[in-house]
Subunit: 159 residues, 2 copies
Amino acid sequence: MQKTKRLLAIEKIIEEAHISTQDELLKRLKGKGISCTQATLSRNLRQLGVARIPNSTGGYKYFLSENIRSTANSPVKLNIVPVIQDIVEAKGLMVIKTIPGNASNTAFFIDGAGRYEIAGTIAGDDTILLIPRDGITLQQVHTCLEIILPGIHDQIKKK
Amino acid sequence: MQKTKRLLAIEKIIEEAHISTQDELLKRLKGKGISCTQATLSRNLRQLGVARIPNSTGGYKYFLSENIRSTANSPVKLNIVPVIQDIVEAKGLMVIKTIPGNASNTAFFIDGAGRYEIAGTIAGDDTILLIPRDGITLQQVHTCLEIILPGIHDQIKKK
DNA sequence: TTGTTTTTTGCATATTTATACATTTGTTTT
DNA sequence: AAAACAAATGTATAAATATGCAAAAAACAA
């Protein structure tokens, strides 16, 4: 999806550069081949929980209000092994069944992706409860999971 | 001086109330007998380093940046073990992230306080799901947590 | 005091950010 | 495939915030 890529790019730029207005960010994105309008950017920044903080030198700077999430430093790729057995939705939450003993590391992996869509996870032995953020649909979470663990849904369906 | 008094009042209001626009703050100040224009307020907020952060419910909230900025120049509170990493709200529930392996004992400690506001908790390895009683706001839960674990919010924000 | 300099403020307005609405794009269902 | 639904986006504009400039207030010096 176009949006997901943009959100990631926004996070990256904000972490790395000193951005003080949305137009500035807009230009940076354009430089990376990603283009949208200021309106979209405004909505995205809200979704990411980005703060604008004045500094003492007379300018402003955007900050991620939630702390750095890196997909980069995740050590294990879980999607090689068919760990995830089933996904069930309930009460606006998502229940993920894994093979025994693998809930914890799978959840850790999901957490490690640092996706804004996911408020948090709780893992037992072979079950994970995934709590989406407010305003996020389960469909969005599915998309998100597909990004974190490519092929996850195929894997389940083929079972 | 007039300004000093106003700056103090602004800090106090921002800490205590949920302020989302400068006009709103302006009215509060007026209610306290302090009056100025939005322009002055804007300048004061810059001076105080106040940030405006979007929340998941579609609004905004002003924060004193000492409460959100991390880092070096903030004194460390040694009597607090930094077990709790983050608190996220979703679906009227509260998701508390701890350092790995500490969810269970932290949840036990929270349960042990026997607070009415909290219906119960479920702990995984590094995440606690806290379920508030019906009719209890998340704000009340925050207050409650601050009573059980003094300094908890500072600890998180300074991370 | 009086004149001089610095700080603070309001006004008017520019800049920046948010949003209602319509449209497009994508997804699911039949 | 088409219909039905949901999500994402752009346009235009509203809302909110920042700032240049002149006036007023405060601080300072002689």
